[in-house]
Amino acid sequence: MTTAKPHSSSVWPWYAMAIAGIVTLVASFVAPPDALQGELSRILYVHVPAAWLAYVSFGVTMIASAAYLWKKDLKWDRIAAASAEIGVLFTGMTLVIGMIWAKSTWGVWWTWDARLTLTAIMFFVYLGYLALRRSTDDLEARAKRAAILGVLAVVQIPLVHFSVVLWRGLHQTPSLLKPASVDMDTPMVITLLVAVVMFSVMYVAMMVKLVELGKLEEQVILSELSSRTPVAGSAVTAPSLGGDA
């Protein structure tokens, strides 16, 4: 069942992540500063790809969850879990970077903008998803419950994305995924695209790593469960009151 070299693929993701990170940084500093926000606009090239890749991650979680419910194959469960973990990481990044940005442009760490709130809530939803996974050790029961939540939780994505349209708020309205005009300079758009591609590379690399890790963990559990593992019942022995004192 296990391949000859189970670790053979585990090096390249590290390189991929490193390179993608460097390229993103270089690209953001090569790009011309925004007319309005100046140097601060460079935050955009991390902030936006992180948010978008969080969407992608949770989308993949949804698809893998549905696939698990369909096929009942634990492979899909591992993919869903790994993707959710990365998604939480990216959402956290969006939040933290966004807050730093907010402090420097709006003067406050946080404000009751719909998108901000909903992003925070999306973060909590998937933290809940991860917590749910930790609450059972029966692999199948865990997979099933997590899958149902994984499918339902996806509503958070459109909610966050369209929140700016639904309410008026401080936050930037969609500037790219909006059908009509693109109100960014071409260099900025290109840099953004490069950053998004690099984040995607990071995502894929992390996925490979995490899915591998999940599989490994499962194997460790199963291999430790040899036929020699004492059964739960062996903890109970015949009582002895120790003499008849």
Partner: protein
């Protein structure tokens, strides 16, 4: 009446009611049962002995489809234990566990009526079943105001009500007074005569030995 309960007579000899092969149950990484093979045929009464913590209750709940096997496979009334349709055979199983599961705020009769309604059994039967276990006078008493033994008796009334083809009794004699212990024998015999089977877990060797056709022992998580 209750035709769905009847095991088809013509195949009753051939098909096992319960059949487990190579079943393991784990709680996380802790093995509780392993490599359990068991088949129970119509008309059989099987007694199960074993030390505290050996896994007897786990085995009964497994057979009742309330716990799923971590490994191996099994069928009850021909239905796979892992199938999502396993709920369909549950109405043919009568399980009495360590602690009664009545809703505390409902009376015994209301609890029973719920079970009857859920299974499409005539509600009029509730009274006579409670009567049969000697609880006619307490039928309108809230379950949490009934003594432990009364609640246990009521569980036997439930089994009378649902007429299961497979009885799974976990220490059925405990908490029953001298008058009521015979309920166990009576129920087991009724079930067997209908072509059903019974599995009894008990520490009361004498009582079970007189009742069972076959005695199994659980040790180290396996049936020996």
């Amino acid at each position: 009446m209750a035709a769905r309960h009847r095991y088809p007579a013509e195949v009753s000899e051939a098909i096992a009611i319960v059949s487990l092969s190579g079943v393991a149950v784990r709680a996380g990484a802790v093995p509780i049962l392993r490599d359990v093979n068991l088949s129970v045929h119509p008309g059989e009464v099987v007694g199960i002995f074993g030390a505290n913590g050996a896994g007897k209750t786990t085995l009964l709940r497994l057979v009742a489809t309330m716990t799923r096997p971590s490994e191996g496979s099994g069928t009850v009334f021909g239905t796979d234990m892992n199938s999502p349709d396993r709920f369909e055979v549950r109405s043919r199983i009568g399980y009495i566990g360590h602690t009664p599961g009545w809703y505390p705020e409902l009376t015994l009769a209301e609890n029973m009526a719920f079970v009857a309604a859920a299974m499409g059994i005539d509600a009029a039967k509730v009274g006579s079943c409670l009567d049969a276990v000697g609880l006619a006078g307490a039928k309108d008493r809230r379950a949490d105001r009934c003594s432990h033994g009364m609640q246990r008796r009521a569980e036997f009334a439930r089994v009378l009500l649902t007429e299961p083809d497979l009885l799974l009794l976990d220490e059925p004699h405990s908490a029953l007074d001298a008058d009521a212990v015979d309920l166990v024998d009576g129920l087991v015999k009724r079930t067997v005569e209908r072509g059903g089977a019974a599995v009894l877990v008990s520490h009361d060797h004498a009582r079970v030995e007189s009742l069972a056709h076959r005695i199994l022992r659980i040790k180290e998580g396996t049936i020996t």
